[in-house]
Symmetry: C3
Subunit: 499 residues, 3 copies
């Protein structure tokens, strides 16, 4: 009997000890004086922010502790260069909003010079590798890629602009800054600049705060007040910065659900997405490295595109990357034809054979000089395939990618037929395009054409890439693509009849 008592108590204590020591190790790092000073007022002024932060890993550990972890478990990539100033404190308000980085946009707030907009430069204090990879990610240039490309800028202006009815027809004016911040630039990122100051009287006294243009914004290519590009908070949502959230597909859905970029919708109806929805509640979204098969049984967006993945034996399947095009040989989205991925994240520099800032001509010829070659494409496909091969045999994986290539070819062919139909209408003068010194996006037939690639071809390609079949068929897929091509032809014919 005594032994049994002993064993019972031992079990209890061992359990209790493990739990306690785990908590002790991770939960109560010292808080820097500056952060404490922030918390004193802000736990009252913005209690939700403080409570969110208290649930974060940032609040429960220190850089120094993080650096002691085994290499594969590292999340702090600064190594020796991590800021000594706060290495042994929780990563709190002051560490990011004051920190060690020079900020032209800082302002006096109580006794501190703080900056509102935390930029990738701040995050780079501890996570420099991720920040420098992200700078080579096409997403970091999302603002300029849209706004510095005359063709795209014209699309933006036509779509988000304002119209007035006049007896002579519709009069168009370009979108206001706020129109853009509420549409295209919500995701692409707006330009946040100081536009004066404002006084605010609160329970805690009177303050003077800067006024920011286009604020709030957390677009992936945001132009920050310190001139840097991007917002880590786009995916690592403030102020919990949860790795679980970043790895779950809902995060990506904020910008990748709409019909122009339906990655999330396709994922939802893929077998991967079904597994995630049905069984994901049992998976481990926090462990680093992320172990295929053990931690999760179907990939999320992060598993394929970003995360450090190993197999259960600890072999690295894929390295962590924040240059998310590392495993993507083709660019499927957003342009007239699917094409080899651009070399530079800044795509506004591209010129095609027709001297347009597009990666292909209107008839589909690639601007090779600006795009990656076959060898690099192959390398990227192999990187992606490596992840597939954790759970699928090689025949499966090869079949999948052969089908994707075929679908790229199909969509490019259909878009070409659509483009030629429109070109004929331009030629006949039914509508006016570039050759007539007019916008390509301001007439009904042109919009039918733009939808062919911007919406339907995109859906079909993504459905092939991620095995979510209906988005290749009836859900903004082949059904719509072929319907609208027939409609374009009919309009071309009708126009001809009239003449």
């Amino acid at each position: 009997m005594k032994r049994c008592l002993l064993l019972g108590c031992l079990l209890l204590f061992v359990f209790g000890f493990c739990v306690n020591s785990a908590l002790a190790a991770e939960q109560s790092p010292p808080i820097s004086e500056a952060t404490q000073s922030c918390l004193d007022c802000h736990s009252e002024a913005t209690p939700g922010i403080v409570a969110g932060w208290e649930k974060s890993a940032h609040a429960r550990t220190t850089v120094a502790r993080g650096l002691k972890r085994p290499e594969l478990e590292q999340r702090v990539s600064a190594g020796d260069k991590a800021p000594e100033e706060f290495k042994n404190f929780a990563v709190g308000c002051a560490e990011c909003h004051i920190g060690t980085v020079e900020h032209p946009d800082a302002f006096q707030h109580d006794e501190f010079m703080v900056h509102t907009v935390v930029s990738p430069r701040d995050c780079a204090q501890c996570h420099p590798k991720e920040v420098s990879q992200y700078a080579e990610n096409i997403m970091s240039q999302a603002h300029g890629n849209l706004m510095n490309n005359p063709v795209y800028l014209d699309l933006v202006k036509q779509v988000a602009g304002r119209f007035k009815f006049k007896p002579s027809g519709l009069a168009h004016t370009p979108p206001l800054d706020m129109d853009l911040a509420d549409s295209c630039l919500y995701c692409h990122g707006a330009k946040v600049e100081q536009k004066g100051v404002r006084k605010v009287v609160t329970d805690l006294g009177e303050f003077e705060f800067p006024v920011w243009s286009n604020w709030p914004n957390h677009g992936v290519g945001r132009i920050n007040p310190d001139k840097s590009k991007g917002s880590c908070a786009a995916c690592h949502s403030r102020h919990t910065f949860s790795i679980e959230m970043a790895r779950k597909p809902a995060t990506c859905s904020e910008c990748h659900k709409g019909p122009d970029v339906p990655a999330y919708k396709v994922y939802e109806v893929s077998k991967h997405g079904n597994l995630y929805k049905s069984l994901g509640h049992k998976w481990n979204f926090k462990s680093v490295p992320w172990v295929a098969g053990k931690d999760y049984n179907a990939p999320t967006c992060a598993a394929c595109h970003i995360s450090l993945v190993t197999d259960p034996a600890g072999n690295v399947v894929a390295k962590r990357t924040h240059r998310m095009n590392d495993r993507l040989g083709n660019r499927l989205l957003g342009l007239i034809y699917a094409h080899s991925h651009p070399k530079s994240p800044d795509t506004s520099i591209i010129k095609n054979a027709d001297n347009l800032p597009l990666p292909t001509t209107l008839s589909g010829q690639e601007a090779e000089k600006f795009l990656i070659g076959e060898k690099e494409k192959q390398k990227r496909r192999e990187a992606m395939s490596g992840i597939c091969l954790s759970c699928h045999a090689s025949g499966w994986v090869e079949g999948h990618f052969a089908r994707l290539d075929n679908t790229i070819d199909y969509t490019n062919q259909m878009v070409k037929a659509s483009t030629q139909t429109l070109a004929k209408a331009w030629e006949k003068g039914q509508v006016k395009g570039l050759d007539q010194k007019d916008s390509m996006f301001n007439e009904s037939l042109e919009r039918l054409w733009a939808g062919q690639w911007l919406i339907y071809a995109n859906n079909i390609r993504l459905a092939a890439a991620m095995a979510g079949a209906d988005y290749g068929t009836f859900a903004d897929g082949r059904w719509q693509l072929s319907n609208r091509l027939l409609e374009m032809q009919k309009r071309l014919d009708q126009g001809s009849t009239k003449k």
Copy 2:
């Protein structure tokens, strides 16, 4: 050793005691004789209903116990007026389906006079404040606001009506009652009235039951057999009446997901929705009051529009309200132009300057007499902003609402251009509208116009209001709104050419 044993057992017992007493306090209130009588047969006849109820708070507590809670934790608003008859019993079948309220629609069922349709009057036995607030909520009038407004009734008839092909064209007949119950009135609420009786032979004997028109229905503005309006079960789903469910956004999605009212879809792609989807499984959806930051890290529909919210220190951030327009200065949905919120929940009383029962004229002029003024709008915006300010700085919140105002202006301008285009077509006789004594909704061009405000402008406004950008851009947003305006113009031009 002995101390260790002692401590171990103590821990075990303290834990066991806590669990047991919590269960004892909440789980087994006495069941009234009448309810027991119901349960005796219905645990066999409709076992799912009984099992659902057994999981409800109603089954595990009593009104008397509820009234003893501290003020902020109160859910029973009847206070002293709570029905003595069942104060100390579980809230079971009899308490709601027999209860203390006179019911003209009750019928003899075994030894009791029961009523099938539990109406807000029954709920008001214990929750009178919520019921009286709801009566001032525009949703409670959703049936009449549609069916008693000639303009809207025409839209209903055209959309849900039936067509036959005739050599001379399509012949329209108005929708049958069942057509409406299966479409518009599913959400708006149908009229439930007794239409005779029917005999049913069951394992438990023969019964005579009333036959109800339009049954089942749990629309928010249901006209009940007792003439009251609304159905609490629309959101507090029978028979579990889970506060967790009412607070989760899926509940609202039943009526607010479609393209005409896409609040849920917009929420899904907003950062708030992403947080909910990714991390919501860790949040506390049951605590009353609901503590911002502690219980949840991003608001659901309920947090912004209904719930009693406090900060972690216990300060009230927002009072509970079932008059859900309390924090809404503008009405964004369902009408031609966004406009100041109507004063009365009964909007069928409104007359605009053109004598139409609409809050604005077709050119956008507000029917001021029936709409709230600037001061009330400001008050409502401040009530909403208070919730935002728990987690966002004032500059963020002001920027957000400035952008919403701009987007309201943008959509109103675009809808006006669409309306003027249609008006021109009416004027030219290409289609026939009100001035030609014809419906505004029965021709193809008119449908294009109606879609502009009913679908696209709505999406864009909601996307601005809730920061779900793609619904303002490519997902039923600016892309579609401008495409269709160009299409309307083209049709207007084509029509002209023909003449």
Copy 3:
């Protein structure tokens, strides 16, 4: 004190014992030599598959153990005929990929003859009842029902085919095999046949593998290399085969979310779907039988269409069936008119009065000989109603189905008006149809017509069947159906004017 100690330890031990013995009983069955041999390499070669399998019930139990369960808990339907060879082993790699079934498609792999594609014949070793029921399920014939029906095949070719622009108009070519595998046949099932062999060099040596056409594919009507039809993995996803997943609606969404078959979308906005989304995390998705009210409070797809459901007292509410049309009197989806369910799962044998392989004529007359009669329809509706009646009173259920019947009538009437409009255009020579020896699906007006039934009428019927109102109204519902009918009429009129 001693007694308290005693009790504490007793509790601990009883608890520990229960957990241990449950684990012991279910977790570590012996692994067959052949399976062990697979695992030896594949835990390295495809670690995700192995890790997924290790989480499966197959890995944690044996057929022999399963057969000992009480009748209602049985999942193995083979009884005495279960294969003696592996009855006492975990169901592992070899049991399914080698097994006891003759496989013409097996190939030498190390010391074994294995087959890549596990077919229903393999699953039938242990689950023969489910397999034979599924063979009578219309889904098992999904490949041939599409590809062997000339009308449907023409639709497939027009929708998934490729177009080239020619000065004379668009030139159509039929879809390639890969085009089909990536669209229609992803869900309907592709034909998987051996097309040669390929050599693969891996870390574990050189191998020769068969090359499969249309691989990967797990469509519900897949034509397997062994000539059998169907893929159990469509719903019971490899290699976890989780009953929880099969019962959750995300599984069905892979093929039933798109606008042509929007069952999942309708479910999502139904009260049932709202309950599942909000409270489903508390339900038991694993218990067999599945107890209405206790294990779940609102049905998922499986509860209504497949699962063995009992009430809390153990009475059978519905028997398990994999012939999923057992409870469906009408076929609502995918054809021109809703109609009585076909008798045979092979619908390509149907001939209507006009000698077309369709269950109705173009004017709606049923091909009675091939469709179930009133008595069978009634029987199926009663089977479905039985499930409803667990949680709803009879008046509710009858009201629901009366409304569905009315909506079937409404949609059929609207589709008829659309068909007659098109027929008029055919008659007038505006477009060319069957009578003109041309496709019914290759002109813009024909596509408008096809959308009326393939998309909009489908949505409206499913919305009625599953109470998800907006899909009957504004979300691909009555709004779109009536809009497009008005548009068809306008085009008919315009065409007339021109002549």
